[in-house]
């Protein structure tokens, strides 16, 4: 499998340099894989940060900027950043008002972030956390370590970032972040496996006539393998899974996301969005805003996920507030 890379060991390092070369408002902390706003810590503002394995671009560094994140730590491909990287991130983004850490629910991310938080709290930094777990494909039961955090994370960044930008304190920023988490569900599918730079071949085998439903964003196998289906059928599977989980009242307003996994062209995502909006209408729901694009990818995997987030007036105001980042601009 061919990729536009040099050595696979250098890919994250070179990507980060390529990002700061593109976006002068981003700064890389020396000797780390951490990116922060150039003006971090922003005086008087609660910091909002995130991080996790690389390979999900524009997540996470691409959401750094006014109205969203103050910084993000990049791990190696699909691998959590280490605790000391998270520590450097928290240190660099605390202006004294404390930092909200948005964590996707993977044990590596959670444990390394927690280790880092213990360390910075000893130095007097206040940290609040929110753990995103929007992936409904994973049943939440005694048997699992909880649902995974996937594309809904972007909405958490947006809402919490807007709240912090508006001058909220740490508790308030945490409250709205949690509100998004409580009202968001996602489900994804793959047409093909992703290929990591290191391995150079498919992480899982998926024959030409099969697809995988309920996949994660790290090449984990999905929950169900089925024969190839049409875009409409796939959209129905994902949407019904998501709406079942949310169990919304008629007339509820929602934000929808059709998210590409990296290797699927925008054309196909719009085909999915067409059916998604039809289904939203059939369920008596109202789309307040529809996002279509690559927000939370899995390297070059072909496939898509669907996210639905139920919004009230507060969330609408926060999601509509200005944001100026490489991966998302709202004006």
């Amino acid at each position: 499998m061919k990729k536009l890379i040099n050595e696979s060991d250098d890919v994250v390092d070179e990507m980060l340099d390529g990002m700061t070369a593109a976006y002068p408002d981003l700064r890389r902390l020396p000797d780390t894989q951490v990116l922060v706003r150039d003006d971090a810590p922003v005086a008087g503002k609660v910091g909002v940060v995130s991080g996790g394995g690389s390979g999900h671009e524009p997540t996470h560094g691409g959401y750094i900027g006014d109205g969203m994140l103050d910084g993000a730590a990049a791990g190696d491909v699909f691998s959590s950043p280490t605790a000391d990287e998270f520590e450097a991130l928290l240190d660099a983004t605390d202006s004294g008002e404390g930092v909200l850490a948005v964590i996707k629910n993977y044990e590596g991310d959670v444990m390394n972030f927690e280790t880092a938080i213990e360390m910075v709290e000893m130095e007097g930094t206040d940290v609040a956390t929110v753990v995103v777990n929007d992936d409904v494909a994973v049943e939440d039961s005694l048997y699992t370590s909880g649902r995974r955090g996937v594309c809904g994370t972007i909405l958490v960044h947006k809402a919490a970032g807007a709240k912090a930008a508006a001058g909220a304190d740490l508790d308030e920023a945490q409250r709205v972040a949690q509100k998004v988490v409580d009202n968001t569900a996602t489900m994804g599918m793959a047409l093909t496996s992703c290929v990591t730079p290191e391995k150079g071949e498919a992480t899982f085998d998926l024959p030409d006539d099969e697809i995988e439903l309920g996949i994660g964003i790290h090449g984990e196998p999905g929950t169900e393998r089925t024969d190839v289906m049409s875009a409409d059928e796939i959209t129905e599977e994902l949407t019904e899974g998501v709406l079942d989980d949310l169990d919304l009242d008629e007339g509820q307003e929602v934000v929808t996301i059709v998210n590409g996994m990296g290797g699927t062209p925008l054309m196909e995502l719009f085909v999915v969005n067409r059916k998604l909006q039809e289904l939203i209408g059939d369920h008596g729901l109202e789309t307040w805003d529809a996002w279509v694009g690559d927000y939370m990818t899995s390297l070059d995997m072909a496939g898509a996920s669907i996210t639905v987030c139920a919004v009230d007036d507060e969330l609408k105001e926060l999601l509509d507030a200005p944001a100026d980042t490489p991966g998302l601009t709202v004006q």
């Binding site: 959590s80 280490t82 605790a83 590596g108 444990m111 927690e114 280790t115 005694l142 992480t203 196998p221």
Partner: protein
């Protein structure tokens, strides 16, 4: 170099070599139920840890353990970094007064506690905890109740860890990446339990040699 510190340095080196030798095997175990990086994670972490402890000038046991742990923590990331590295750092405080049968038990207990705490996993979740728990229990009973010599206690603990590794095969994982597989995780040996056993085997071999 004090005797205890030297044992720790030698043990870390032995672990690094062993893990390197088992790297592909650990990765294979992780690719069946996880993300195929446990061999690489461990090999990188322990190789760096071996270098770091080798660079210490005449360390005591506590310093050597803490240095090894810190290195693993900052090299590895993922679940393994905090679990293997963070727990070593934390448990190293029990060795402040040097290594005795009593402090060794305290160290083992604290290490297990920290792993369980950080990973929120109890026995039967199909993780390294399944190897660690019977080993620590056996070690503690052997020392405190049966008053066995330390080497004999450690030998029994390794056998207990081995049983724990086998125990991970038939149960459904409920922690770690393997948990996403649901029932498909049944029948697979946990990579972290396996590497934990290797670490203990090397500790025993080095302790026996000294």
């Amino acid at each position: 170099m004090s005797g205890d510190g030297a044992v720790v340095v030698a043990a870390v080196e032995a672990v690094a070599d062993r893990i390197q030798a088992e790297r592909d095997h650990l990765t294979d175990l992780d690719s069946a139920i996880g993300d195929a990086d446990h061999g690489g994670n461990m090999a990188r972490g322990w190789a760096e840890a071996a270098e770091a402890v080798a660079d210490l000038a005449d360390p005591d046991a506590q310093t050597a353990v803490k240095t090894a742990g810190k290195t693993v923590l900052s090299e590895v990331g993922g679940a393994a970094g905090p679990l293997y590295g963070g727990s070593l750092v934390f448990a190293s405080q029990e060795l402040e007064g040097g290594v005795t049968p009593e402090t060794a038990v305290a160290f083992a207990e604290t290490y297990l506690e920290k792993v369980q705490d950080r990973g929120d996993a109890s026995v039967g979740a199909g993780t390294m905890v399944d190897a660690l728990t019977p080993a620590v229990h056996t070690f503690k009973k052997s020392i405190e109740t049966d008053e066995l010599p330390p080497l004999e206690a450690l030998t029994k603990a390794v056998a207990a860890a081995e049983a724990g590794v086998q125990f991970t095969v038939p149960i459904r994982a409920s922690k770690g990446r393997a948990s996403y597989l649901g029932w498909r995780s049944v029948g697979h040996q946990d990579p972290g339990a396996t590497s934990t056993l290797y670490i203990m085997e090397e500790l025993l071999a080095v302790a026996a040699g000294h």
